[in-house]
Symmetry: C2
Amino acid sequence: MERRKFLATSSVAGGVAVGMAAPALAQTSNQPDIRWRCASSYPKTLHTIYGAMEMVTKRVAELTNGHFRISLHAAGELLPALQVLDGVQNGTVEAGHSASYFYIGKDPAFGFGTAMPFGLNARAQNAWMYEGGGLEMLNEFYATQGVTSLPVGNTGAQMAGWYRKEIKTVADLVGLKFRVGGLAGMVLTKLGVVPQQLAAGDIYPALEKGVIDAAEFVGPFDDQRLGLNKVAKYYYFPGWWEGSATLTMFINPKAWDALPPSYKAALQVASAEANQWCTAKYDVGNPTALRQLVAGGAQLRSFPKPVMQASFKAAETLYQELSDKSPAFKKIYVPWKKFRDEQLMWAQFCEAPFDNFMAGTIKRV
Amino acid sequence: MERRKFLATSSVAGGVAVGMAAPALAQTSNQPDIRWRCASSYPKTLHTIYGAMEMVTKRVAELTNGHFRISLHAAGELLPALQVLDGVQNGTVEAGHSASYFYIGKDPAFGFGTAMPFGLNARAQNAWMYEGGGLEMLNEFYATQGVTSLPVGNTGAQMAGWYRKEIKTVADLVGLKFRVGGLAGMVLTKLGVVPQQLAAGDIYPALEKGVIDAAEFVGPFDDQRLGLNKVAKYYYFPGWWEGSATLTMFINPKAWDALPPSYKAALQVASAEANQWCTAKYDVGNPTALRQLVAGGAQLRSFPKPVMQASFKAAETLYQELSDKSPAFKKIYVPWKKFRDEQLMWAQFCEAPFDNFMAGTIKRV
């Protein structure tokens, strides 16, 4: 009698199996074995950026009792650093960890996923991504490019890099051979800078020999490892082209769609954790590195206000030009700019007065 | 031949079972059914704070295919708002979502988990929690109190609240009946303020009748719902007692220890996601609410610098007194203060110059 009742129930549920094996088998289908490969645009030595994606792979494995495993590969192992997006698009890899702004050559709208000159700080960038419609807008655009995405890591505001000579006026930018990429390079070109593209490992010798006059990278924690303070003593701030920079996990849409719901959730939640962790890791590492760089001879300098203002104006001009050229750019730019300005307004009544008062309670480095 | 080979392999792996059922049964033990109850110190109407914990419960269920379920209960349902910690300690509930600083009566060291007057902004608080040893220090202290914890939500810098009269000098604080709690109340007592303890729902009538002169709550998004602008028109900033405020999920250690590793990971990662989301939700909701409050008659005012300085000095004095009184407080305070000052130093070279320049590019509300 009991058994007949059980079989009847089992039949309603779809008759998947009988006896003890029924719930067990149901669970097996919830946790299928899935293996992904993720190509990074970064070397393993960048403990924060590469480390953020590493954190995601570990968490996902933990969350799925080892049934969803993502192997992470440093730049060059599976794909060249700047071809990660292409590899995800064509299915060479299921996922890639990269910076969307590496791909502005395809469409300038790729800039919004990482950093825009005079854009959002880390607080505002996260607000935009998670609650301001940013991630939805980005993924709507990325869908036209054959990928989808999740944010994985934010560096916070970056330094403006290392300069062999001081920048005292806007005129000092004319002819400056500066290792800087993407939209920042396009803005600075308007002010006479000659942007240079160089891999991280090539910066030191180029600066040493005077092939370039200046180079930006990230901030003290990462810059220290390149030893740039030995070949260019002026360390400028703020890096207005990266008021924060988000790293992106690009995902092949077919691979994403094939995931069971709990694995999709695992990727989303692990990405969010790593996004937050990355900024924390930088914030803990940067002050000590900055002190060591200054002790090693680095001279801290802020851009003069006229240089900031001229750069801001050049950026606004560029954004108009890009809006005219790319409908995808314009579609994101208009609400993004409105969002940025609202965040700046709000910051004037809470964060800024608090932060500025607190700044006055300590001595500078 | 194939079957014999399979059985041999199975035997090497520990001979847990034979045939198809083997991996299935192994997985069942990885995802046991677990039910927790979580008591919140907040009402459901606080969509950001209560919502952050709600987000954790949903994520945990998703990640575990519904096998780990946490039912969330608003303040008063299972436990009074301010007895959540006690309920977790004595095992009435497995978990509670609360603010650690509600419990400074037990030990002032409970302040660090939420917010300290002139403490850490949201960026620095997260850096301290996740990479600066903060969460470890807190949990070491909490272990002596019979609980463990995870951060779940950060409000960002709060407003200083609603005042019936302007605060123009330090003398204007004398005799001020101000709805403010915890360590902030202890600091302000030194300046002559008479702190008042009132539940959120009692603030409006008390302010309206003049029983109190001022009240602080959170920020525009939450304050708007209380309608305080109708009974006290001066809206002050910054809320220096909460440069950011972290919400805490207190967990009963026995309940925690009984979780399988993947469920512990699910709670950790879901908490981190909700922590980040909460700030984003506030940042998106606050600007619009602020505009509406101002349109409704709110007059924005910043505390005069002498008021800020006198408050800062009073806070430093209080911290010395509490350090003398509580070894637990002192043990956290010393490294915490060092951490705060290093974060303030670092912010002067990146965040602050960028944020301050950007602030100048827009008009005030």
